[in-house]
């Protein structure tokens, strides 16, 4: 038993949640999923929880919820069945809901395995150095190397840009009508097309003050809405803006 216990410990991180653990126990005990001996499974399940606790691992709340569900089912099963069960009681096996959940989860677990078994791009099949591959690598690298910039660094970039503008520009009266909503749409549209852009690139030729202010506000607003992300490769480096998700 002691050996088995250590065996459990090693396997702990492979469980994807309480349902996964239950499926494992069912398989391990070679139990018919439609006729689960709740007492046995509950006992083993609680043993696992003990081990998780003894290892000081974070016990996700979901595991505890499942434990209480199991105990609830167990107690229900202990109740004497009436001699002549009514129609409702007949179809109400206390385990039914759990079995349905387990079967559904098992189906998706298998579906996930089937997906993994397909010829995957960049693992089994490759395209003619498609940008898709670069994107994937780039995205992976970005996560490691890019530093997320805070609002102050963005403001800094904004100051740098404003100070670069020809002072005479400020005297011109800009008649171009602009709205923040338009600029936000413009920024999102360009980001979706270009995948990532620097603040300067976003502004392009139109470097009048109002345009800069509006673009800056648009970026702040979009970051707040989690529609875009701002990264820089190093302190004082160029800040690149990425769309947060594909639209």
């Amino acid at each position: 038993m002691a050996d088995e216990t250590t065996g459990y410990a090693i396997k702990l991180d492979i469980f994807e949640g309480p349902l996964d653990l239950l499926l494992y126990l069912i398989k391990k005990n070679e139990i018919d999923i439609y006729n689960i001996p709740v007492a046995l499974i509950t006992e083993q399940y609680l043993q696992y929880l003990k081990i998780i606790k003894s290892l000081n691992l974070d016990l996700a709340g979901e595991y505890l919820v499942m434990a209480s569900t199991l105990i609830h089912i167990k107690s229900k099963m202990l109740l004497p069945v009436p001699d002549e069960p009514s129609e409702e009681e007949k179809e109400e096996d206390p385990r039914a809901e759990l079995v349905r959940q387990l079967l559904e989860y098992q189906a998706f677990k298998e579906a996930a395995a089937a997906l993994q078994g397909r010829p995957l791009l960049e693992r089994d099949v490759f395209t003619r150095s498609a940008p898709l591959d670069d994107d994937m690598e780039q995205a992976a690298e970005d996560e490691d190397e890019l530093i997320e910039v805070n609002v102050f660094e963005l403001i800094d970039a904004f100051h740098r840009l404003v100070s670069r503008i020809d002072k005479k520009e400020f005297l011109k009266i800009d008649l171009e009508k602009m709205s923040l909503a338009d600029i936000i749409n413009d920024v999102m549209e360009r980001l979706n097309r270009e995948k990532n852009l620097t603040f300067e690139e976003l502004l392009g030729e139109r470097t009048d003050r109002r345009r800069i202010v509006y673009t800056f506000l648009a970026i702040l607003e979009l970051i707040k809405l989690k529609m875009i992300k701002a990264y820089q490769t190093s302190a004082f480096g160029v800040i690149r803006i990425f769309p947060a998700v594909e639209s």
């Binding site: 492979i14 994807e16 949640g17 309480p18 349902l19 996964d20 398989k27 070679e30 139990i31 018919d32 999923i33 439609y34 996700a60 979901e62 499942m66 959940q101 079967l103 559904e104 989860y105 098992q106 189906a107 998706f108 677990k109 298998e110 579906a111 996930a112 395995a113 089937a114 997906l115 993994q116 397909r118 010829p119 995957l120 791009l121 960049e122 693992r123 089994d124 099949v125 490759f126 395209t127 003619r128 498609a130 940008p131 898709l132 994107d135 994937m136 690598e137 995205a139 992976a140 996560e143 947060a244 998700v245 594909e246 639209s247």
Partner: protein
């Protein structure tokens, strides 16, 4: 008369993403759609027959040349990169989104029995899953669906190419039959 098959081959090769039939038809506008389709099918067969290192795959609603799966050890050696693999949690979440889309986070969590915030975020970042909209119920939860890139990465023509849930059910019954078999043996 131009060699249409050669033209189609060239078009597919130069396209960075899977090239849709419509786009090929738009270039070869004097050609019937059915003829284009036939020419593509012939190309697929030709690549197969000559045991070429590449094959013409129908993925993500288009056509794309890809290297054969059995050649991956060498290609990987050349590229020297390890593909970013998905964690079991991410894969399960992705499978649920793929089959049950459009779906909200709470529904995914109902099936998995655990919180899916982290894997879902990873899938969004990898662009395998996208936000489709918001459900018109209290709280306006975000609705998720899979992307075109999901089809490209998993080599799927379209979502209908996923094994149907009925097949999944059969799979279940099989494993159950197996378990039952094992039980009776022991």
């Amino acid at each position: 008369m131009p060699n249409y098959k050669a033209i189609i081959e060239a078009l597919i090769l130069t396209s960075e993403t899977p090239l849709a039939l419509e786009k090929i038809c738009a270039v070869l506008n004097d050609m019937e759609r059915a003829e284009v389709k036939k020419a593509i099918q012939e190309l697929i067969v030709e690549y197969d027959e000559r045991q070429s290192g590449i094959y013409l795959a129908e993925v993500a609603g288009g056509f794309q040349f890809r290297t054969r799966p059995e050649l991956s050890p060498w290609v990987k050696k050349l590229k020297g990169t390890k593909p970013a693999s998905l964690s079991p949690a991410a894969l399960e979440t992705l499978a649920i989104v793929a089959y049950r889309q459009p779906i909200v986070k709470a529904e995914i969590e109902d099936i998995r029995g655990v919180d899916v915030s982290a894997p879902l975020k990873g899938l969004l970042e990898k662009k395998l899953v996208r936000i489709v909209g918001r459900k018109d119920v209290p709280g306006k939860p975000i609705i998720y669906g899979t992307t075109k890139k999901f089809l490209e990465v998993f080599n799927l023509k379209d979502l209908s190419e996923l094994p149907t849930l009925r097949e999944l059910k059969e799979l279940n019954e099989q494993t159950e039959a197996q378990t039952a078999g094992e039980l009776s043996e022991s």
